[in-house]
C-alpha cells in the first residue's frame, strides 16, 4: 500500500539550546493511503504537535516529513499553502469559522481562492456535502446561529471541498456531547470508506475505536500501537475496551 505520509525521526524542541525541551523526541510514523489512524496520549504528550508537524502547519527542529513523497522542509510557504489546500483537509476541536461569513460561504472559502469562475460548481458541491452531513437547511445561517455539532459538520464539509487525500482532525469531537460525537465519527468513517485517509488526535477511546490503528504517545515519543480490524459498524463498545486496555498496558 502506498504511504501518504512518512515521518522520520521528527524532533520539535522549544526554548534556548542547552535548556531546550523536546516536545517531539525522534518520532517516526507512516500513514497509508485510505488509512484511518488515531493518536492518543495524555496532555502534553506531543500528539497535537505531531499532527501539526505532519501537516506542515508547524515547523520541526530536525527530522523529515514527506507528504506524497514531497519533503515539507524543502517546500516554500506558498507550496505548503497549496498542499494544505489541495491535498489536506482540517477539522479542529473548536469550529474555526470566519465570523462575518455565513455557513455556506465558510465552507466554500478555501475552494474559492483564485477560483471564482468555477463558483457555480463549487457551490453545488458544497450543497451536496451539506446534504450528506445533514445540514442542508443551514447554508444561510450565521455561525452563531447553529449548534456545535452542526458547526463541526460544516467544518467537515469545508475539509472535504477540495477532495483531499488526507484529513487531519485535532480532537474533532472534543467539544461535543457523546451523541454528537458519535454522529461526527459516523460521517468521518463514511468519508474514510470512500478512500480518504484520516489522522485523528483524541483522548477518547470511544472515538479511537472507529479507526484502523491507534498510536499511543508519551513524553514526545511513540509508546505503543494497536491495530484494529476495519470497523463494520458493530461492537463499538468492545473495540473501545481494547483501545483502553492497550492504553493501560503501555502505562498511559
Amino acid at each position: 500500500m502506498n504511504k501518504i505520509i512518512i515521518g522520520e525521526q521528527i524532533v520539535k524542541a522549544f526554548g534556548e539550546a542547552g535548556e531546550s525541551r523536546h516536545v517531539l523526541d525522534g518520532v517516526s510514523i507512516d500513514i497509508n493511503e485510505g488509512e484511518f489512524v488515531a493518536i492518543m496520549g495524555p496532555s502534553g504528550s506531543g500528539k497535537s504537535t505531531l499532527m501539526y508537524a505532519l501537516s506542515g502547519t508547524d515547523g520541526i527542529t530536525s527530522g523529515k516529513v514527506l507528504v506524497q513523497g514531497r519533503d515539507l522542509s524543502a517546500a516554500s510557504d506558498n507550496e505548503l499553502a497549496d498542499m494544505r489546500r489541495t491535498t489536506m483537509g482540517f477539522v479542529f476541536q473548536q469550529p474555526t469559522m470566519l465570523r462575518n461569513l455565513n455557513i455556506l460561504d465558510n465552507i466554500i472559502l478555501p475552494s474559492m481562492r483564485n477560483n471564482r469562475r468555477n463558483a457555480a460548481r463549487i457551490v453545488e458541491k458544497a450543497r451536496a456535502l451539506m446534504k450528506r452531513t445533514g445540514i442542508a437547511e443551514l447554508e444561510k445561517r450565521d455561525i452563531t446561529q447553529v449548534s456545535g455539532g452542526q458547526l463541526q459538520r460544516a467544518g467537515i464539509c469545508r475539509a472535504l471541498m477540495n477532495s483531499p487525500k488526507i484529513i487531519f482532525g485535532d480532537e474533532p469531537t472534543g467539544a461535543l456531547n457523546s451523541k454528537s460525537a458519535q454522529e461526527i465519527m459516523a460521517i468521518l468513517s463514511e468519508i474514510n470508506a470512500d478512500g480518504t485517509a484520516i489522522l485523528l488526535v483524541t483522548h477518547d477511546a470511544k472515538v479511537a475505536a472507529w479507526t484502523d490503528r491507534v498510536m499511543y504517545m508519551r513524553d514526545g515519543r511513540i509508546a505503543g500501537e494497536l491495530r484494529l480490524s476495519k470497523f463494520d459498524g458493530t461492537n463499538i463498545e468492545g473495540r473501545a475496551q481494547k483501545v483502553a486496555t492497550r492504553m493501560l498496558e503501555i502505562g498511559i
Binding site: D77, A81, T86, T96, R99, N100, L109, R113
Partner: protein, 772 residues
C-alpha cells in the same frame, strides 16, 4: 517591575513608540507656546496701554466740530479725568511715498497727527513718548515690519519732503485690523500739509472710574455731541491690539488639538493591538484575582512614560521657537511686564497635555472591565459581532476576486471599526485638495478678472507725471500706429467729491474710460454703460452701504451728478476701494492713467514690453502676468508653499494612521488569519485582502473628502479670499492634480503603509492561534 515592562515594550515597538513620542512632543510644544504667548501678549499689551495712556473712550468725527460745547460737557461730567481733541489729517495714500515705495496700493487709511499733549501718546520702540522735530517723520511700526520704510529714508507727502526719523507704536491703531494708521510730524510741518487732505477729529476721554464706561457712553450719546464716525472704547482697543496675535495663538491651539487627536489615534490603535495580543493573558490576570486597576497600571505605565518624555521634549522645543513667535508682540507692544510667569504657564500647558493623554489611555483601558476572564482564556480574542453586509455572499459572488471580496465584505460588516480610519482619510483628502485648489484658482489667468483687472496683455501706468492727459494722448498716438496691438483702452483714475446721505463730502476714486473693452467679472450687476451709471468695488459698496440700483451723488465739473450703481465687482488693487464710470470729465486732475493693450500675437509680449519701456520714459510698462506677480505674487507663492506643506503633512498622517490601524487589525484578526492560513491562503492573499480593505475605505474617503473640499472647502477658501476684497469665489480645479495626482499619492501612501503594516500576517503561526 514597571520599568522592565516599559523598557521591553518600548524596545519591541521602537518606531511606533518614537512616532507617538514625537506627536506628544509636538502637541506639548504647541500648547506650551500658546501659554507662553498668552502671558506675554497680555503683559506686553498692558505695558503698552499704560505707557501710551490709551483713551478710555474715543469718538471719531468728520465735519464741523464745536470745541466749546465739548469742553463744557467734559467739565460737567464728574467721571472725566482728562479730555482732548486730536486732529487726524487723512491724506490719500497715493500722495504718500516712503523711500522708493508709494503707498498707493496700501489698504490703510493713512493720516497725520502731532504728538498729544495730555494722553494717547505715540511711543518709540523703547516705549518712550516721541518728541518730533521739524522735517522728521515717524512712521507706524507696521511699515517697518513689511520693509516699506527704513530709518533715514526720504519720504514725501504731497510735495513736502521728510526724513524717516523712526517708527512709532500707536496703542489705538497699531493693529492691522484698525483701518487707519497715524504718522507723526511736528506742529509746524502739520500746519504746512493741512491742505493736502481732509481733517478728522479724535475726541478722546480718560475716565476716573473705568467701570462706569457704559454710563459715560450713554451720557455722551444723549448729549447729542459730535458723532459722525465710529466710537471706540478701551476694551475694544485692547481687543483689537490682541486680536492678530490672539488669532495666531488660536491657530496654534487648533493645530495642537489636531496633533493631540493624531497622538490619541496612534495611542488608541497601538493600545488596542496590544490588548488583542495580550487578550488571553488579561483573562488570566483577571481570573487569578488581579483588580482591573492593577492590570490597567501595567498598561498605563508605558503611556505615562511616553507622555512625560514627550511633554518634556515639547517644553524644551517651545523655548527654541518662542523667540520667533514673540517677535511680533515685542515689535508692536514691547516687552511684557510679567514675562517670567510665562514659562510657568508653559509648564501648566504641558502638564495638561500629559494629563489628557493619561486620561485618554485610562478611558481606552476601561474595556478591561468588560472582558470576560473565561472567554478571554478560551478564545484569546475579543468577541465581535459582525453587523450588516449579510446579503453580500461569497457564494453569490461571480464578479470580483475572492480576496478583494473578503476585504470589502470585512469593511462592510465592521463599519464602526473602519470609521476612524475613514475620518482620517477624509481629513487627509480635504487638506490635500483645498489648498491645492485655492492655489490653482488664484494663480489662474481668469482669476485676475475677479481682482479688478481685465484680461489684457500689456499695462502702461502713467503716475506722478505733471500732465497726465497730455502724456496719455501722446501714448495713444503711438499705440494707434502700432499694428501689432489689436485693441487698447485708456482708463484714468480721478478723485471726486461724493455727497453722503448725511450731507457730508467724502472722496471717491473713480476710474473713467471704456470698461467694455477689457471687461472684468462682476459679482453683481454689470459694467457701467451709460454716463449715468457707476460700478463700485465690493469694499467701497460695503463702506457706503450701497447696492446695485441705488443712487449716489458725485460732484463733477462743479455740479452734482446722480449716478446709479450698475454693478459691484471684486477688487484688490488700490486698497480695494474703487469705482468705475464712463462719464466724460475735464475738471478734476487725473491721479493716474493706465493704458491697457492686447496684442494680436501673444509671443510678442516680451519684446513689446522692452520696446515701449525704452521709448516711453514717463510710463511704467509691464507684462500683465508680471504685474499680477508683483501685486500679489508673494501671496500666490505662500499659498503654493502652504499647499505643498499640507500635502506632505496629510501624507505623513495617512501613512502613520494606516500603518497603526493595519497593525491593530492584524492583532484583532489573528484568529481568522490562522484559519485561512490553515486552509491554504498565503501571505500574498492576506496582502491583497488588507490592501482591498484599505483601498475600499480610501476610495470612500477620497470621494467624501473631495466633495467636502469642493463645498465646505470652497466656502472656507472664499472666506479667506474675501479679506482681499474678492467677493465672488469659485474653485478653479486642475483635474489632473486634484482628481488624479492627489488620489494617486493617497493610494500610494495607503498601499505602502498597508503592506508594511500587514507584513506579519503571513508569518503567523497557525497552531498557536487556532488551538484552544
Amino acid at each position: 517591575m514597571y520599568n522592565r515592562i516599559i523598557r521591553n515594550d518600548m524596545f519591541r515597538n521602537k518606531a511606533i513608540t518614537l512616532a507617538t513620542i514625537l506627536f506628544v512632543a509636538a502637541a506639548a510644544m504647541l500648547v506650551s507656546l500658546a501659554a507662553i504667548l498668552v502671558v506675554n501678549l497680555s503683559g506686553a499689551l498692558n505695558t503698552l496701554m499704560k505707557q501710551a495712556e490709551t483713551p478710555h473712550f474715543m469718538q471719531m468725527h468728520k465735519g464741523e466740530i464745536d470745541h466749546a460745547r465739548l469742553t463744557a460737557f467734559a467739565e460737567q461730567n464728574s467721571n472725566i479725568d482728562e479730555f482732548q481733541v486730536v486732529e487726524f489729517l487723512n491724506i490719500d495714500s497715493a500722495r504718500i511715498s516712503l523711500g522708493d515705495h508709494t503707498l498707493a496700493n496700501s489698504v490703510q487709511d493713512n493720516g497725520f497727527s502731532v504728538q498729544s499733549s495730555q494722553f494717547d501718546y505715540l511711543l518709540d520702540l523703547d516705549g518712550n513718548v516721541i518728541t518730533v522735530s521739524d522735517g522728521e517723520l515717524y512712521v507706524p511700526v507696521n511699515y517697518m515690519k513689511d520693509n516699506t520704510a527704513r530709518i533715514g529714508n526720504k519720504a514725501a507727502v504731497g510735495g513736502k519732503e521728510f526724513i524717516v526719523a523712526g517708527f512709532l507704536r500707536d496703542s489705538q491703531m497699531n493693529s492691522s485690523l484698525a483701518s487707519s494708521k497715524r504718522f507723526l510730524v511736528s506742529e509746524t510741518d502739520f500746519a504746512e500739509i493741512k491742505d493736502l487732505g481732509s481733517m478728522e477729529y479724535l475726541i478722546e476721554f480718560r475716565l476716573k472710574d473705568l467701570s462706569l464706561l457704559g454710563a459715560f457712553e450713554a451720557a455722551y450719546t444723549s448729549a447729542s455731541l459730535e458723532a459722525n464716525g465710529p466710537a471706540v472704547t478701551y476694551s475694544l482697543f485692547t481687543m483689537m491690539n490682541a486680536l492678530s496675535d490672539g488669532m495666531m495663538i488660536a491657530v496654534i491651539l487648533l493645530i495642537s488639538m489636531l496633533v493631540v487627536v493624531i497622538a490619541f489615534m496612534c495611542i488608541r490603535f497601538t493600545l488596542l493591538a496590544k490588548i488583542e495580543e495580550d487578550y488571553r493573558e488579561i483573562g488570566v490576570m483577571k481570573a487569578i484575582g488581579l483588580r482591573v486597576s492593577d492590570i490597567k497600571k501595567i498598561y498605563m505605565a508605558k503611556y505615562v512614560a511616553i507622555a512625560l518624555i514627550g511633554s518634556a521634549c515639547g517644553y524644551a522645543l517651545s523655548f527654541v521657537f518662542k523667540g520667533v513667535l514673540l517677535e511680533n508682540i515685542r515689535l508692536y507692544m514691547g516687552e511684557s511686564e510679567h514675562a517670567s510667569y510665562a514659562d510657568f504657564f508653559g509648564i501648566i500647558g504641558i502638564l495638561l497635555v500629559s494629563l489628557a493623554i493619561m486620561a485618554y489611555v485610562n478611558g481606552v483601558l476601561r474595556r478591561f472591565r468588560k472582558i470576560s476572564a473565561a472567554e478571554a482564556m478560551r478564545f484569546g480574542i475579543s468577541p465581535e459581532k459582525p453587523a450588516g453586509a449579510k446579503p453580500i455572499t461569497l457564494s453569490g459572488n461571480r464578479l470580483i476576486n475572492t480576496n478583494i471580496f473578503l476585504g470589502i465584505k470585512d469593511v462592510l460588516s465592521r463599519k464602526k471599526l473602519y470609521a476612524t480610519m475613514l475620518a482620517v482619510l477624509v481629513i487627509s483628502a480635504f487638506i490635500i485638495i483645498v489648498p491645492q485648489n485655492l492655489h490653482n484658482t488664484i494663480s489662474s489667468k481668469s482669476f485676475i478678472q475677479y481682482m479688478g483687472i481685465g484680461n489684457y496683455d500689456l499695462r502702461m501706468d502713467i503716475q506722478q507725471a505733471d500732465n497726465i492727459s497730455e502724456k496719455v494722448a501722446e501714448l495713444e498716438k503711438t499705440i494707434k500706429s502700432d499694428n501689432t496691438i489689436s485693441k487698447y483702452a485708456v482708463l484714468t483714475t480721478k478723485t471726486f467729491k461724493m455727497i453722503t446721505e448725511g450731507g457730508l463730502e467724502e472722496n471717491i476714486k473713480i476710474e473713467l474710460g471704456d470698461h467694455s473693452i477689457f471687461p472684468i467679472a462682476y459679482a453683481e450687476g454689470t459694467a457701467p454703460r451709460s454716463e449715468e451709471e457707476i460700478a463700485l468695488s465690493s469694499l467701497q459698496a460695503d463702506e457706503m452701504g450701497k447696492k446695485v440700483g441705488d443712487v449716489i451723488t458725485v460732484v463733477a465739473e462743479g455740479k452734482e451728478k446722480k449716478l446709479q450703481v450698475s454693478g459691484i465687482y471684486s477688487d484688490i488693487t488700490n486698497g480695494g476701494k474703487t469705482a468705475k464710470a464712463v462719464f466724460a470729465d475735464d475738471s478734476a486732475d487725473a491721479m493716474w492713467s493706465i493704458v491697457a493693450a492686447e496684442l494680436s500675437d501673444k509671443s510678442l509680449i516680451g519684446g513689446k514690453v522692452s520696446e515701449y519701456a525704452g521709448s516711453i520714459g514717463f510710463a511704467k510698462v509691464s507684462n500683465i502676468n508680471e504685474y499680477v506677480k508683483q501685486t500679489f505674487g508673494s501671496t500666490i507663492t505662500s499659498v503654493g508653499q502652504a499647499s505643498n506643506a499640507a500635502i506632505i503633512i496629510a501624507l505623513i498622517i495617512t501613512i502613520m494612521v494606516t500603518l497603526l490601524f493595519m497593525r491593530m487589525l492584524i492583532a484583532k484578526d489573528k484568529y481568522s488569519i490562522a484559519v485561512m492560513k490553515a486552509f491554504g491562503f498565503t501571505s500574498s492573499d492576506f496582502k491583497v485582502q488588507y490592501a482591498s480593505r484599505a483601498v475600499f475605505v480610501l476610495i470612500i474617503g477620497i470621494a467624501v473628502g473631495t466633495l467636502l473640499a469642493n463645498t465646505l472647502g470652497e466656502l472656507l477658501a472664499g472666506a479667506v479670499i474675501s479679506f482681499f476684497g474678492v467677493t465672488t469665489f469659485q474653485f478653479e480645479v486642475d483635474p489632473v492634480s486634484a482628481y488624479l495626482l492627489s488620489p494617486f499619492m493617497l493610494i500610494g501612501s495607503v498601499l505602502i503603509a498597508t503592506i508594511a503594516g500587514t507584513s506579519g500576517a503571513g508569518q503567523l503561526n497557525i497552531s498557536e492561534h487556532i488551538k484552544e
